[in-house]
């Protein structure tokens, strides 16, 4: 994989982490109880650290004309490549748990492949992230069981979150040229491998939590081409405000 394409590959992964970290940090001081507040911030911090490491490396691969901060704070919506799932709002705690559980599985599988590549920087990032994601998956799965098999209300809310978020899952195993290049270099699993991994884990965990996995729903697509839901615009407006308002300032 040449540097420019590898950089694009890293930006995609970095964008998933960055946007999820943003959503996680929105939960700060809004948790159902203080211990969970702290837990969610921890997970957000892990994702932010991964985003930073990936964007720093992507900036370097690009040739150094942009910094990681430029990538995070100066790109417009259409140049962001995070999955639409990652930008979905924290409608309620169930939406957070479902979104993050599915993304934890995606990141686990992704980092597993990346941890074995010869590129020391990337395998280093992936090895560290792999430990973090193992814990994320455990934490979100724990909640999935409690919400799915808790009260009638929690069950209903969680099933609603699953149903409303399901159309965004298809993107996680979609492929384009960059993916094919990454797969060829063994940097990423194939779409089929990813889909099988996700579906096996999701259906098993959902059923353990007495939740239904939706069937034959239309899967939306577009983030690889910079297409998003309307939520991303607001998110970036907030995230990029200072850098945009004071372009000459250093912080």
């Amino acid at each position: 994989m040449d540097n420019l394409n590898l950089s694009k590959f890293c930006i995609r992964l970095g964008d998933h982490c960055l946007i999820m970290a943003h959503r996680q940090s929105e939960l700060c001081s809004n948790g159902p109880f203080l211990e969970e507040d702290i837990a969610q911030i921890n997970l957000g911090l892990d994702l932010l650290g991964q985003a930073e490491a990936l964007l720093i490396y992507a900036a370097k691969l690009e040739g150094g004309t942009r910094t990681a901060d430029d990538l995070a704070f100066r790109r417009p919506e259409r140049q962001f490549h995070n999955f639409m799932l990652t930008e979905q709002p924290n409608t309620d705690f169930a939406f957070v748990i479902v979104r993050q559980y599915i993304m934890s599985l995606y990141l686990l599988k992704t980092y597993q492949a990346l941890s074995k590549v010869e590129d020391d920087t990337l395998s280093g990032i992936a090895l560290k992230a792999l430990k973090e994601l193992t814990y994320h998956e455990r934490h979100f799965a724990m909640w999935l069981k409690r919400l799915g098999d808790g009260t009638e209300e929690s069950h209903e809310r969680t099933q609603t979150a699953i149903n409303e978020l399901w159309m965004f899952v298809g993107e996680l195993y979609e492929e384009d040229e960059i993916d094919f290049m990454a797969q060829k270099a063994s940097y990423a699993p194939t779409g089929i491998e990813m889909k099988t991994f996700l579906m096996e884990h999701i259906t098993a965990k959902f059923s353990e939590a007495t939740l239904e996995t939706p069937h034959s729903i239309y899967m939306t697509t577009g983030s690889k081409k910079g297409i998003h839901t309307e939520y991303l615009g607001y998110l970036l407006t907030e995230m990029q405000y200072l850098q945009r308002a004071y372009p000459d300032a250093k912080w």
Partner: protein
């Protein structure tokens, strides 16, 4: 043993600098004073997450975002240490939260001021945490064991908070004209409320008598306030900002700063609910609590089912 005799024994232990532990005999007034002070301290950490949490999503760099997120998380953690320490006095966290929501328990008034610009993240870390640390260092020697131990842990973890704040202000003070202006403005707005954090003058502090006698409080409001001013003024000057107090001057004889009159009317007004954010802070806390109810119930229900199996 009669109550009076127990109280004499208790005071002897205090005077001998013994630490009081949860199951020890203690006067009811001592227990009540601790619950009031410690829960106020815990609530302050938790409500204090809001003004800073408000800026995490707008932090201007990935590094700043990471640090601020970690810092606010520490505050949540400190809130938990303090709630746990308060619970050893025989009160539950549910009760403590209820008292906060009913307005019967207070939190530090400083958090009723808004965080308007990124420079405020600097001012809060530097001045507000700085004032809090001055107080907390002194409280590490407080007479109630669980409170003292919580303070030791908190002081250890907070050492990075003040540096984080000062770094933000310092880099803005050295930045563009707009940044400099924001830095000075933040200092102007947070200076006096930070001095108020130490509480009324010793002469107007009705509860201090018992608190000092029982060694809950180890140093007076005015002593701590002066210590804070003395160490902060040079930090202000170092980065080219100005303390917003025209009466501030070095007193050679006392080797300490003389400072202007604090607006105690404002202090009492904000405590009594007149700050710009009193309503907002409490509403936010109540909303998170209400929104979380179904989650807590789900967790409790799941645990009940597991226990039956």
């Amino acid at each position: 043993m009669g109550a009076e005799e127990l109280n004499v024994l208790f005071q002897e232990r205090i005077d001998a600098n013994d630490k009081i532990e949860p199951r020890d005999n203690m006067p009811e007034e001592y227990r009540k004073h601790l619950i009031r002070q410690m829960s106020q301290h815990a609530h302050s950490e938790v409500i204090g997450m809001q003004p800073e949490g408000n800026w995490i999503t707008r932090a201007p760099s990935l590094r700043a975002k990471k640090i601020l997120l970690a810092k606010v998380q520490d505050e949540a953690g400190h809130g938990l240490y303090l709630y746990s320490a308060t619970e050893t006095l025989g009160i539950t966290r549910d009760e403590l939260i209820e008292k906060l929501h009913q307005g019967k328990a207070k939190y530090a008034s400083i958090f009723n001021y808004p965080a308007l610009t990124w420079a405020d993240m600097g001012a809060i870390g530097w001045l507000v945490d700085g004032a809090a640390i001055t107080n907390q260092v002194s409280l590490q020697k407080t007479s109630y064991g669980p409170y003292a131990r919580a303070m030791v842990k908190i002081c250890k973890e907070e050492s990075f908070h003040q540096r984080q704040g000062y770094e933000i202000i310092a880099s803005m003070a050295a930045g563009t004209d707009e940044q400099k202006e924001m830095a000075q403005d933040a200092l102007n707005r947070f200076w006096w409320p930070s001095l108020m954090m130490f509480g009324p003058h010793d002469s107007d502090s009705p509860r201090s008598g018992n608190a000092m006698k029982w060694k809950i409080k180890r140093e007076s409001n005015d002593v701590l306030r002066k210590r804070f001013i003395d160490k902060t003024v040079s930090q202000v000057e170092l980065i080219g900002l100005t303390v917003p107090d025209k009466d501030l001057k070095w007193n050679e004889k006392e080797q300490s700063y003389d400072f202007g009159a604090i607006d105690w009317d404002e202090f009492w007004a904000v405590i009594k609910g007149g700050g710009p954010c009193n309503i907002k802070r409490l509403k936010h806390h109540k909303k998170a609590h209400t929104d979380g109810e179904w989650v807590r119930k789900a967790a409790a229900a799941y645990a009940q089912k597991q226990a039956k199996n």
